[in-house]
């Protein structure tokens, strides 16, 4: 049974729930080495998405991603706003005309993550959300190539995301606000990596139950 944007309202609810539940912890991270607004930025974006959720549920994936991306772009602001907008608008572009099975989606995602790298002039190892997004996209591609079952794939993505977020702890930030602190940025998980991980896990949970 293919997953369509009909699932979007449920996804947004799950994302809102996971960000709200972890708000204080994430804010503490962004305050320690950033400016403390990351959670509010995401919450603003997710609220905006919730307002458009039904409308989005009626679209096909490329159209849905475009609409999600534009909504995020206009609601979030900050570094994470432009990066997630780039990711989602990138997905709209790269999924155009592709058959959206796991294989097709994983290719589209890799391209979209590539767009994020370019927008942020960043790559893995710089203590950003890319330390989660890049390994997750790569793992998805590997699992798709291996034709793994959905639950296996999702379990793997959860794990890779968690490892990616945790790996940022000992990194010295070279991108984003935390880079201003140089060596002082060490010892804290990156807020954007953490929320990327939380959202990926939440999405995986929704897809798990949808498939079950």
């Amino acid at each position: 049974m293919p997953i369509t944007p009909v699932i979007f309202p449920e996804l947004v609810r799950a994302l809102i729930a996971v960000i709200d539940a972890n708000a204080d912890a994430v804010t503490e991270l962004d305050q320690a080495i950033g400016d403390g607004d990351h959670v509010f930025n995401l919450q603003r974006g997710l609220q905006a998405l919730q307002q458009h959720a039904d409308e989005i549920a009626a679209l096909d994936w490329p159209q849905a991603w475009q609409k999600i991306g534009m909504t995020v772009m206009s609601a979030v602001g900050g570094a994470s706003g432009s990066l997630y907008a780039t990711l989602l608008i990138g997905l709209a572009k790269s999924s155009q005309g592709k058959s959206l099975n796991v294989q097709g989606f994983s290719e589209a995602l890799l391209q979209a993550v590539e767009a994020v790298k370019q927008r942020g002039k960043a790559d893995v190892g710089e203590k950003t959300m890319l330390d989660v997004l890049v390994p997750v996209a790569q793992a998805l591609q590997a699992e798709a190539a291996a034709n793994s079952a959905l639950p296996t794939i999702l379990a793997r993505l959860r794990q890779v995301a968690a490892e990616g977020a945790e790996a940022t702890r000992d990194m010295v930030a070279t991108k984003g606000r935390a880079s201003f602190l140089g060596e002082r940025s060490k010892g804290h998980v990156d807020a954007g990596a953490k929320t990327a991980q939380l959202m990926i896990a939440a999405i995986a949970d929704v897809l798990d139950s949808a498939a079950a």
């Binding site: 400016d35 607004d37 602001g77 706003g81 942020g120 201003f180």
Partner: protein, 328 residues
């Protein structure tokens, strides 16, 4: 949290409404998407647009008006605005001669302005301000834009008003930015309304040396010192950055971060003036006050711009904004 506020979510919009009412003679507010723009526009003029997170007032909305910005796009507190704000502002103030975005060098600002520039159907360019010398020039994402932004916006604003084209405005902005160096110290952090408590704590005998404008920690935490010692350090570091020759003309800007009284800012100005004059610099213009703030943060920065005659003329040119006004 000791603030005049009902709800952090409505603070920005209500405040902007008040700001627009208080300055209805020079500007208007577009509520959705949010931008503030000049009432009297001029066709054939390059339109100057800036923006950034809120909490730095009067920057940038206080600089909208004759001789300076055509529009400002305020983001949420300390959060860059979004591309739709910039695009809508550009369309509103376009005078047919192109749009110049003046952007402080922060990842969020840079990327959001970049997206706007890519999507905008009007000719546009941007000037990146990165005057904060607390980070090395080689820093991975470059230096931050801080209080020097005011100087860039004033001088380029006057040039645009005088009819300079897009390329000249951009080149001038980059020249002013090159000639400008800033460095600041924070005595306290600040309290972001949505958070309700200070971003970081400092002991009574400590200060942050080399800070940005978001209430975050600076280059290093050092012992609080007397004003003369602080100013001597700041001016030493600034003098290392700029090619100061005996007789060089300069503008000296002492910028308060919001929580430091004017009596102290003028003290700092006097001490900096003495330090810099001793180095053979001729301080020709000055600006002392709270212009690029960090909410209620106590502290200040020094900004020095080496002036050429064109810059002096543009600095002196009439300006009529909420926060800077002279000559008209």
């Amino acid at each position: 949290m000791k603030k005049f506020i009902d709800d952090p979510n409505s603070l920005l919009d209500t405040s902007l409404q008040g700001f627009a009412k208080a300055h209805a003679d020079i500007l208007e507010l577009n509520p959705e998407p949010r931008f503030v723009y000049r009432k009297q526009r001029k066709s054939g003029k390059v339109a100057l647009i800036s923006g950034g997170g809120s909490g730095h007032e009067p920057l940038h909305s206080g600089f909208v008006g004759f001789g300076m910005l055509d529009a400002a796009c305020p983001g949420q507190v300390f959060t860059s605005p979004t591309p739709d704000q910039m695009m809508a502002a550009a369309e509103a103030v376009d005078g047919g001669a192109g749009i110049l975005f003046i952007v402080k060098n922060y990842a969020g600002d840079v990327m959001n302005f970049e997206m706007a520039g890519e999507m905008l159907a009007l000719p546009n360019a941007s000037v990146l301000v990165n005057d904060d010398i607390s980070l090395p020039k080689s820093h991975s994402i470059g230096r931050r834009g801080v209080a020097g932004t005011t100087i860039v916006e004033k001088i380029v604003g006057a040039a645009a008003e005088a009819g300079a084209d897009l390329a000249s405005c951009k080149a001038l902005g980059e020249r002013v930015n090159q000639a400008t160096a800033s460095l600041g110290v924070a005595l306290t952090s600040c309290t972001v309304p949505a958070l309700g408590h200070p971003t970081f704590a400092l002991n009574a005998d400590e200060m942050e040396y080399g800070v940005g404008i978001h209430g975050e920690r600076g280059r290093e935490t050092v012992k609080l010192a007397g004003a003369s010692e602080i100013v001597a350090q700041l001016t030493d570091h600034i003098a290392e950055e700029l090619p100061i020759a005996p007789g060089s003309k300069a503008l000296l800007h002492v910028n308060g971060f919001g929580g430091t009284p004017l009596i102290e800012l003028h003290l700092v100005y006097e001490l900096a003036w003495q330090q810099l004059t001793r180095r053979g610099l001729s301080i020709q213009r000055s600006l002392v006050g709270n212009f690029t703030t960090s909410l209620d943060m106590a502290g200040c920065s020094l900004t020095l711009t080496l002036l050429d005659d064109e810059m002096v003329a543009y600095w002196d040119a009439p300006v009529n904004t909420a926060a800077l006004r002279w000559g008209c």
